[in-house]
């Protein structure tokens, strides 16, 4: 690929700086009851080695924040494994501006929703603002439909430079799976990009592949799903497992989250996606321990 490549030497330097930091568990608010089995605490520190301040508990218990509406309810443990978002928590704490760069393919663009306000980054912004009083949040939407991860990764370098985000919300995988990009190449691109973002103290939230009945039997599709899940586990970033959520809602509830073409999310689909991401983010922001990732899940 032309650009999506590692910056290994710098990486080592900054990782070294990171290792100096203390392992710190984020204290504060109760972890949502559904979060999976507890495991080893995740080392939490800013890249310069300073401890991350304890996030002030919100006025309401986190378990009450960003609740999923009944229409979108799915087992939370399947949707996301809470993973700390230290930068977000930090900026929230000092009431700074939270800049979320939403990047990825067409569900970021909001194709199929009835108006732009209904695409998921905008809905996510709405939900978060409802839950945190005086939240200074800016959502920067830079989706390009049908783009594979290597293209997004290349674009991301410049976009991050230009937009200076606190967090990158990266929707990724569906198009690589369809384009038959080898799963290992895909994983390498994602891992490298995550590392670069983390080196620069930018939180990452990955949003996984779409579900449609058409791809449920596709081997390569599942290989890419697994690669994404592995990448998220290894790099300890939050992955919102969209496939699992959508599959659950489609199979168990029989809800049409996709538009008439069975591809694009309709307004409800975007809302559920936004709710699931918001929920995962909120739980992650106030989490205390990092549960062990469940192997093989996406």
């Amino acid at each position: 690929m032309a650009f999506g490549t590692a910056r290994a030497p710098q990486e080592q330097r900054y990782r070294l700086a990171g290792i100096v930091g203390l392992c710190l568990a984020l204290v504060a608010g109760a972890v949502c009851a559904q979060t999976a089995a507890p495991g080893a605490p995740a080392p939490q520190r800013a890249a310069d080695g300073t401890e991350i301040p304890v996030t002030a508990p919100p006025e309401v218990a986190p378990s009450e924040l960003a609740k999923i509406s009944p229409l979108c309810e799915a087992p939370f443990g399947d949707i996301a494994t809470p993973t700390p978002l230290p930068q977000l928590a930090q900026v929230l704490e000092r009431k700074g501006e939270i800049r979320v760069l939403a990047i990825g393919s067409s569900s970021t663009v909001g194709v199929g929703s009835s108006k732009p306000a209904h695409n998921y980054p905008n809905q996510l912004g709405g939900i978060l603002k409802k839950n945190f009083a005086d939240l200074n949040l800016k959502i920067i939407n830079k989706g390009v439909s049908g783009e594979v991860s290597a293209q997004t990764a290349e674009r991301m370098r410049r976009l991050v430079l230009m937009e200076k985000p606190t967090m990158v919300l990266w929707q990724v995988g569906t198009n690589d799976a369809l384009a038959r990009v080898p799963a290992e190449d895909f994983k390498a691109t994602v891992v490298e990009t995550i590392r670069w973002l983390k080196q620069h103290d930018i939180d990452v939230v990955l949003v996984g592949l779409q579900y449609t009945p058409h791809v449920a039997r596709d081997e390569h599709y599942h290989a890419v799903r697994k690669a994404l899940s592995d990448a998220a586990n290894e790099e300890r970033v939050l992955l919102v497992r969209r496939f699992a959520a959508m599959e659950f809602l489609a199979r168990v509830r029989g809800q049409p989250l996709l538009g008439p073409d069975e591809l694009h999310l309709n307004d409800l689909g975007y809302r559920c996606m936004a709710e699931h991401i918001a929920r995962s983010m909120v739980v992650s922001m106030f989490m205390r321990v990092k549960p062990r990732p469940k192997p093989g899940q996406q």
Partner: protein
Amino acid sequence: MSLRSANAVDFWRGLALASIFINHIPGFFYERFTHRNFGISDSAELFVFLAGFSARALAGRRDTLSMQTMMLRVGARGVQLYAAQILITMVAIAMIAAAAIVWENPLLLEWHNAAAVFQDPVQAHVGLVLLSHQLGFFDILPLYVVLMLGAVSLAAVHRLAPWAILPGSAAVYLAAHAFRLNVPTWPVEGEWLFNPFCWQLIFVIGFVAAGEGALAFARRHSLLLRGLGLIGAAIGLSIVVFRLWPDPLRMPEPALLFVVDKSYLSPLRLFHALSLVVLFAGLFGHISARVPAIAGYFCLLGRNSLYVFCLGSLLSLAGQLARFHFGGTLGIDTVVLVLGLTLLGLTGWLSELRARLKSSATASRE
């Protein structure tokens, strides 16, 4: 259609066209052999440089062509490119739709930024015609259209104040970096992948390089230029091999000038692309002498660049669809490669056959 004899410009242009066809299939096995894997620029730079180089011929010599004729000629070429862009975009949309219907997989409708066309057709169609909505990988031709229409004024300035061309172009390029100017897309929020304010520079450099003065200068200082080219190529290769990519967030301001970015045609990419040009420009003679068949093939593609480019864009899409359906195996990739390159050659051959028949018909009438 002129039937010129094999020359270096056609050869490199043909090579760029074949590379574009290959590079535009994500995950394609043979993609790893194109020159972008050995440096920091790719065939797009080569293609646009050569487009500028050939535009010089279109603009004609000062003494042989009136100003109006020249401007009309360049403008007409721009309109022709625009027509080609609309045509291949429509065919691509139909290919994507047909694949979704035949394979009953609507996920395909999302490819290549086509989703908006199917989901939001009212706005997307306006965007397609205005070139503010472009399909992924179908975004070079819009740049070329803008450059060629811009070349009408470029050609005029070339007549009136040739010394102003390069400084003017460089000023626009720097302004685009300093003020982060680009053309926005609509209805999908975004910006052009090939930022025309930046990419015009390599087009203009090509235009200037085709001038007699510049060519004479290059001949006089060929050793110096090749030395510089070697340095540029070595820098590009080391960045790739030793992974020394400049980190955008660790660069001094204006950081955009120091990163390696395609949209803004970063100075490093530009330098690398021009290095390759000066380094390899003289190689055509050797290739042509040693492997005339290969030289002839790429020249054939380059001579018929618009047709070959258009078919190549569609073949890349066909290749992606084939890989989706049959799997991305080495066997499938080989079939796609061989079939693709054959069809590109056939396109060039047919277009020249037509030109030959036409000229012989004219000759027999006389």
